[in-house]
Symmetry: C2
């Protein structure tokens, strides 16, 4: 029987909306409970996440901006890969430190999918984390080995999306 | 072509986690943009949502606790139905007032499924809302007519869930 005391590994994946938003909702709940919370943002862009980041920092969350822009915007792939690996190095240190009750690895599936970070390294860190540390991983195409290790996995499935109707991403709703 | 100015109707449905959490993540983003935000909570319970509510109120969100406990806990169905209808009456007033940029109808699908609130009445209010008002509806089994009207619909699909492994709901993560 699984212990009810250990921290959970939660994965939000799929092609639909809400993978990161849901993680930030969990973040809010954790802050309300006085948990120590950190977010590592693996995909950086100028506009995305700035609102969430400002609010999170105001609420006492430690927020690390890693990564180096959307990969399909990158002109210097080497720098992008180095940035992603650097974000992972920081995430690993924070996870293993035991200093946090909840760590959100936002959009961390992508560098794993692109093999910039070895999935075995991620699994090893997740398996050896201190028992109180809850981890949320978001992003499309979560690696099957991570899904296998996870306690709770939700696929956010797109039923329909305003973007498909020609509606642009909205400040305040989407970023 | 759809106007890019009107408020969106967003539905988070399905049997997986993250329907409400995602809405609260969107709430956080909207607050960061200085939007006027309200949450109407259609299912009330002693422990659920209290953390989110406290944080939301602290952030300036108007939060209405409607409903009357989980329906499968209800001993007085008549009171439960009256409470759900009362929550809807308040939601309708807030939606039509135009006083809010974002209104979250949390777990509002259930009273519609149980026919305590007529789906035609909900559709009518959503269709006649002021154009700047964004609405998020969460809950399982969203009515097909509401899905049809919505701009963005995500099905949160359970891939696996810690509860299935005998792990209880967790303070700080689940409530």
């Amino acid at each position: 029987m699984t212990s009810t005391r250990r921290g959970l590994l939660i994965v939000n994946t799929g092609d639909g909306k809400g993978k990161s938003s849901s993680a930030f909702g969990v973040m809010l709940r954790a802050v309300a409970r006085d948990w120590r919370v950190a977010v590592i943002q693996f995909i950086k862009s100028d506009k995305w996440r700035t609102g969430e980041k400002d609010m999170a920092v105001k609420l006492g969350v430690d927020w690390v901006v890693g990564g180096d822009g959307f990969t399909w915007e990158s002109e210097d792939m080497e720098a992008t890969i180095v940035a992603a690996r650097d974000a992972w190095d920081r995430a690993r240190g924070m996870i293993l430190s035991g200093d946090y009750d909840l760590i959100i690895l936002d959009e961390a599936t992508y560098p794993v999918t692109f093999s910039w970070i070895a999935v075995d390294e991620v699994l090893e860190v997740l398996r050896s984390r201190p028992s109180h540390v809850n981890v949320v991983i978001t992003g499309r195409d979560a690696d099957p080995a991570i899904v296998d290790l996870a306690d709770t996995v939700t696929e956010m499935r797109k039923v329909k999306h305003a973007f498909d109707e020609g509606i642009q991403a909205r400040r305040g709703l989407d970023y």
